[in-house]
């Protein structure tokens, strides 16, 4: 049973079409990723799901309800972490959690949440004095303090260092294990690959694919990449003539030959025939990154 259904969502700001045509469904208990480059329309999409924006077209259903008409009911059941939302500088961690808890009919225990999110020592620290990672953890705690069935997390780890990012990922997995359905908005491939059960790839306001990370990778023509350092000058054409090869790139002293099928064997034969030795030879398989390039025709940029 899907808990969220988005059908042909359309939203514009003046002349700018932020969301052109977006459809997807989210199943109970999964981590559903919304992946795409900056400006793709991810935030607008999830803000329509959260009832913060009115769609110009299409349908949104959350837990069987309309986010606009049944806003009051849904606010009790959906926790939201907004991109770029802050708290008053002087508000302390404990105060923030207790205040937000008091808004809900059946809140989670703020003290327990603080412990779970490693904020115990920061209980009396004002918001202003928190580190980026601590602010994000507080933000997650506030999204969970209403004990929601669904939580929407928008660009949770943007701006965090790799260490803090990994800690946050573990947190999100623990939230899922409690049975909360999670919509995770991100533009990090690694994050999507590691956390999401399924994800929607969004580009320029449109969904280009919905699948599991592995499914997406499988879906694109499997790319093989052979990377090596030739012992002597070698002409690109020797490789581009091969039927298996699609592109030849050079980075530094390295040659990167990509294609499908048995690229490694084809390249090795050419090198042997020309008596060239390949140093640092490596074979790389396609990743979600490649899938993204294949689906959208461009690389996601940070």
């Amino acid at each position: 049973m899907p808990v969220i259904e988005v059908t042909n969502l359309h939203k514009r700001y003046g002349d700018v079409v932020a969301v052109d045509d977006v459809s997807f469904t989210v199943e109970a208990g999964e981590i559903f990723g919304v992946l795409g480059p900056n400006g793709a329309g991810k935030t607008t999409t999830v803000e329509c799901v959260a009832g913060l924006r009115v769609p110009d077209g299409g349908e949104v259903s959350v837990l069987g309800l309309d986010p606009r008409r049944d806003a009051a009911g849904l606010r009790e059941r959906v926790g939201v972490q907004l991109q770029e939302s802050q708290l008053p500088d002087r508000l302390r961690v404990g105060e923030a959690l207790e205040l937000f808890a008091s808004f809900y009919r059946r809140p989670a225990d703020p003290a327990k949440l603080m412990t779970e999110l490693g904020l115990d020592e920061k209980r009396n620290t004002p918001y202003k004095k928190l580190s980026g990672g601590q602010k994000q953890r507080l933000s997650i705690a506030l999204a969970l303090v209403g004990d929601p069935e669904i939580t929407i997390l928008d660009e949770l780890t943007t701006g965090l260092d790799p260490q803090a990012r990994r800690v946050t990922w573990e947190l999100i997995e623990r939230i899922r294990d409690r049975g909360v359905t999670i919509i995770l908005v991100t533009h990090f491939m690694e994050e999507a690959e590691r956390l999401c059960d399924r994800l929607a790839v969004i580009d320029r306001g449109r969904v280009v694919a919905v699948d599991s990370p592995a499914g997406l990778v499988r879906r694109v023509a499997p790319t093989q990449r052979v990377r090596f350092r030739p012992s002597a000058e070698v002409d690109d054409r020797l490789f581009t003539e091969l039927p298996e090869v699609t592109t030849v790139e050079r980075t530094g002293g390295q040659v990167v030959v990509s294609g499908s099928g048995d690229v490694l064997h084809a390249v090795a034969s050419v090198l042997a025939r020309n008596q060239i030795v390949a140093a640092d030879l490596r074979l790389e398989q396609s990743t979600l990154d490649d899938a993204f390039v294949e689906l959208t025709g461009r690389r996601i940029t940070e």
Partner: protein, 249 residues
């Protein structure tokens, strides 16, 4: 965005009050500054002597209503709009809108705190003036209360109107600065009004919060109905404009 109910008002008022009291600098500027100026002036003996220029009042008594203008202007035109614009800019109002609490409740809590600060400041000024420098208590208490309430309402409504249209705290302050200077000038804060040309004094009568009505009722004359009516009109118009234009994001 929906903001027509008041869920969370009580809790927000409590927490916002705590935050307000924590910001000692702002609190002293709103509540304490006018009384501080009064004390400094009152320490000059010449300003405590009755003077025919002021119908036989002392300068300190004559100037006290202008100090009330300072309170209302700082709290209503500076602190409140900056606060609201900051909350909007930082996404606090939107964040609240995703919870069962209403962002309108936060706005209401801020208004209540601002009013409380203004009243506290006025009481402090009147009491210290009376005890330390013999400034008489307002002689027409009802008229004084009416002039004070309506004048404050007019200025707060103007402040909310600015907060409604300014996108950021910086923009709010930029819009507010000239308005603030005008209000203070016409309220006789920078130059005591007896030094101003007659025309400017007349304009000042109708500039919120209406320093002449405050002075009249303080010295025992009932405030002129026209003065009060103008304040009411400004409060209603600016308030309606603010309600219509206010954005939560």
């Amino acid at each position: 965005m929906k903001g027509n109910d008041m869920r969370g008002f009580g809790q927000l008022l409590r927490v916002e009050t705590r935050l307000y009291l924590r910001d000692v600098g702002t609190m002293l500027a709103t509540v304490g500054l006018p009384t501080l100026v009064l004390v400094v002036l009152g320490l000059v003996p010449a300003l405590r002597r009755p003077d025919p220029t002021f119908d036989g009042q002392t300068f300190v008594s004559y100037f006290a209503p202008s100090l009330l203008v300072v309170t209302v202007a700082v709290a209503g035109l500076n602190v409140l709009p900056t606060m609201l614009a900051t909350y909007r800019e930082r996404g606090v109002l939107r964040r609240l809108a995703t919870t069962p609490a209403s962002p309108a409740a936060l706005l209401a809590a801020q208004l209540v705190i601002t009013l409380a600060a203004i009243v506290a400041s006025a009481v402090l000024l009147v009491v210290v003036g009376r005890l330390a420098f013999g400034v008489p208590l307002p002689r027409h208490p009802l008229g004084f209360a009416a002039a004070f309430v309506l004048g404050t309402a007019a200025l707060l409504a103007l402040g909310l109107l600015v907060a409604a249209v300014a996108r950021t705290a910086k923009a709010a302050q930029a819009l507010m600065a000239p308005l603030f200077l005008l209000i203070m000038f016409f309220g006789g804060v920078y130059l005591p009004r007896f030094l101003l040309p007659d025309l400017l004094v007349r304009i000042g009568d109708y500039t919120p919060p209406g320093v002449q009505a405050l002075l009249d009722s303080w010295t025992g004359t009932p405030p002129q109905p026209l003065h009060l009516a103008i304040m009411t009109g400004i409060a209603v118009l600016a308030g309606a404009g603010a309600a219509k234009l206010f954005r939560w994001e």
